[in-house]
Amino acid sequence: MRTAIAEPRGTCIHHGVTLPTTGDPPTFAECACMIDEMRMVDASLVHVSDTLDGARTHVLLVGIGHYVHLPGGGGEVLPGNASLTQLGSPPQSARALADWFVKAFDNPERPLGTVSLIVSEPSPTPYENPATGRSHPVPHGTTADVRAAVRAWASRLSSTEDNMAVFAFCGHGVSQGLAEALLLRDFGSDPLGAFDGAMDLTTFKATMSRATANTQVFFIDACRSGMAGLGDQGNTGTSMLSFGTAARLGRGAPSQSIHYSTLGGSEAYGRPGRPSFYTEGLLSALASAARQDDYGDWWVCTPDLQHSVEVSADILATTVNRIQRPEMERTSTIRLTRLSGAPTVPVHVRCEPEAMIAVSSLACRRGTETVSVHHGPSMPHLKEWTMALAMDNYEFSGIIPSQAELHTVTQARWVIPPITRVCLSVRTGPGA
């Protein structure tokens, strides 16, 4: 039995299809606009493709910045967790990723099916879909919200094993050894069971290995530092899904690529009001970390993506004097998205001695054309020059002071994706 659409009949503002003025509520066939009907079942949906036939990519993005029971959250504060604060970056990260998937994701093998978004922020703001212009309120990130969204997402993924699952989380995360939890908006609502307000990531990953979809990509942008109480009495958070062990009988394990924004036991960083360092690096990598396949198409595959984001997130974190090393837990090679053409390549140039970058200059030339000139580092605290260049052969020329002399160091290098790193070294002494 179909669920009636609540909106009045008329012109579908999504597709501009004029609907009959009388009769039953519109159907998919009438307006090809499924999102309103589907949102009645899954309020986290912010984008639905015109058709969900065949293999599709279903994306679930969770950004938890506002924690009701942490200091400043407005609720009764969970004692003993002074190090956990409100976060400004996760909502921006989740929205930025949603925008990218809606606007830029291109996978002809598994086209975009749906994008779901959950955002916890102090003042809930609807998400404006950049493709349709429609504004959608999104769930606020309580455990119930996330569980409902995860289950609906998993249900959509189960339509065919050729689907691709993409899950991304940005917010507080904690880990103790192999026990990992992602903290949700209502974390700490029950002081006696604080982790009831968390997502059990350990179990979630294991459970997803029995999900129908054969291709799964996870981005976990959260701290992985320890927290007392995690795992006490076996409580590592709420299990969001449950599949029987027989769910994949005869089909082997799915390909999983699990990307973390930081190493186990370490912290991840962001800046209020802007996407996190990892998300910025991820978005940059999604636009550039591509390789050409046998047919000449440029594809961003997960290992290259990881390599690129490792460099860029780490470099971004150095701008606030932090170290952040993303890592990968599963390394299945998954073709995530295709680029429309050859990518612009992130280029990172450093000099030795490193400290001299503040008083050094760099010129980058392609043939006789000077394409980039830098004096001092590209950003404060950064110990590199960064730029984005088209693939080609370049000459990098640095003027670097060392031992009371100015040295000109030049290197000719091919700039090739996924990322190109150059070191201009002033070597002194024998053999230099």
Partner: protein, 429 residues
Amino acid sequence: MTALTISLDDSSWRGISARVTRVGEADGRRATRMGSRKVVVSAGRTGSTSIDVSPGEYLVEATLPTGDVVTGMCKVVGDGPVSVDIARMHAPDGTVAKTRIPRQGARDFEFPSAGGMLSTSFLGLDAHVAGMEPEVFTTPVQPRLDRSAPPDPLALAKHLPRVVRPFEPGAPDGRLRFPMASRVLAGADGTVGYEMDGQGASGAPGPVWMEFAKGTQVRKVMLPLPWLPEGETPKRLSERSRVRVDVAEDGKPRVSVDDARFGAMIGYLTTRRIAEARTALEAIADDVAVGPFPADGGLPDAAPHAYLAACYVGILEQDVRTHTWGRLAERLHRACPTSVDAMVVTARYLLVTARDTDDLTRARSLFLQASEGPPPTFTIGVQMLLDGLSAFADEDETMAARRTEFLCVARSVDTGQPFTVLSSAPSPD
């Protein structure tokens, strides 16, 4: 007084302890012990320890890392220095089994009271301490097992203490009680020697634990001995495996591997460097197909750990030869049914490639069996075991309860280490 120099020209170990006992005639009886001194002897051509002794006959008893004790006599007659090389006290065929000094009785575990760097080579059979004043502390070894009885995996596994206990909230004093322990003597010159109680680890299959403390941080390092087949000794296996575990000043173990393929596996298990691991998987798969496996189904001679690591990596990464790794895992499991690692990796293979419920039933049984023993030697094994228990927990109360129990171990694991390292306190960083 005359200098008696005791040396150990053997690079197999870094140092050992020795007891120098003056023997002589007293009351007309020969070989009466007339007081002894314990010394620590560092190994290598430049490593030696000198003590001043008065003329007489001396019995030098060296406790080898294997738990064996070798003895030698020397005579100090005048002012000229006298040297004894413990390595030459070995039997000509290279074996060291001569005399055993069994000392029964339980002894409480004691933590070292000082900080500093403690490094231990594979199996913890020799060690190196820097910046430590001489002191005695203990480290656990496994109890001796009765090798005359047929091997029972569970019985063997249960000989090891359940490591969850010291880390469970509310443990009486947070300390383990070990049925047997070995004493370690730390020398000011940066060397330690071991004095093994009982028969040491030489007869015991399964993982060997060592425990180190720095401040309030206590780390248990599972030294990579995933199996010990009948007739094998830890020392021989350690030499074949080409693994070395050092515990550095920050208390964290550092693993080095003198085998390219195994090194590639370790690289994957620590930093997920997949490219080298894939190349190594290919080479190991060739070995499995045509290589050096003994006809009796035992383990290959060189770097046997690499084969187990390949199973872990190949099955985790769904390598194209997944079934090769699955068959190898089963083979390892058959070759050494006591190996928890072999149980876990076999169970994982059965779970992810299950074609029918029989496969799932067997996987469940192996996961359950593995959870009753000590944790797997490899960190990835701990993760696979946790995942396996979690997979069945939704539909099986026994497995759910076991998962909860095992979580105590899993949450103490240092995920950055290839071999299982448990910590009783959060990492300082």
